[in-house]
Symmetry: C2
Subunit: 124 residues, 2 copies
């Protein structure tokens, strides 16, 4: 079993949340509050990625129908440059943003190739 929040000291009467997310005095409650925010952000990201995949499925169907290549290096280079800029503005490591985009693009290209080869998935 990994470490649990309740192994660490907890303030009196704070229940399941805290107004002290910086952890002064009550590390277990602070950890719990930060994790609740992380879970909310993850749920939002998952829903945005679901929406993104709806778009890329349509792109995949369009590319398959018109015989366009599954990958597009020029488009990907523009996306990476844009995400670098956005990441810097948002105070996020641009290298992480690039690795994230590459991870998503690889997944999308796998889907596009499968679609072009007529493997699995229904057409939109």
């Amino acid at each position: 079993m990994g470490p649990r929040a309740d192994r660490y000291p907890r303030g009196v009467g704070t229940g399941t949340s805290t107004s002290d997310p910086n952890g002064a005095g009550d590390p277990a409650a602070a950890l719990e509050a930060l994790r609740a925010s992380i879970d909310n952000l993850d749920a939002a990201v998952i829903h945005l990625l679901a929406e993104r995949f709806k778009c890329t499925q349509k792109v995949g169907a369009l590319k398959a129908r018109y015989g366009m290549p599954a990958s597009d290096p020029a488009r990907e280079a523009r996306q990476i440059e844009r995400l670098h800029r956005l990441a810097r503005d948002a105070d996020l490591d641009p290298v992480f943003a690039e690795r994230f985009l590459n991870f998503v693009i690889e997944e999308v290209i796998r889907h596009h190739k499968a679609l072009a080869e007529g493997v699995g998935t229904t057409s939109p």
Copy 2:
């Protein structure tokens, strides 16, 4: 140079956007519209990930201060199970959601270890 949208037929007078995202009749404009949506969604995801990293940086500082271990397998198992459920609800491949979370967690653990070892990064 990779394929460009303007290699494909374009409708008359559609400018840079289209109201036909399904690609009937004007594949280049449809591709462009879908890519504009993808770019918007990516910008939103990048900003959410920036916010997520602010949270995990605080978690990292807290863990380093109280000597908590950088990784927490039980917490990660709960996160994966929850993301599977959220992904299914959002019609996203649960396996992709899990791979996405693992990718982000690996990045976060790298940051936590660096913080615990006093390498780089300022404390919050």
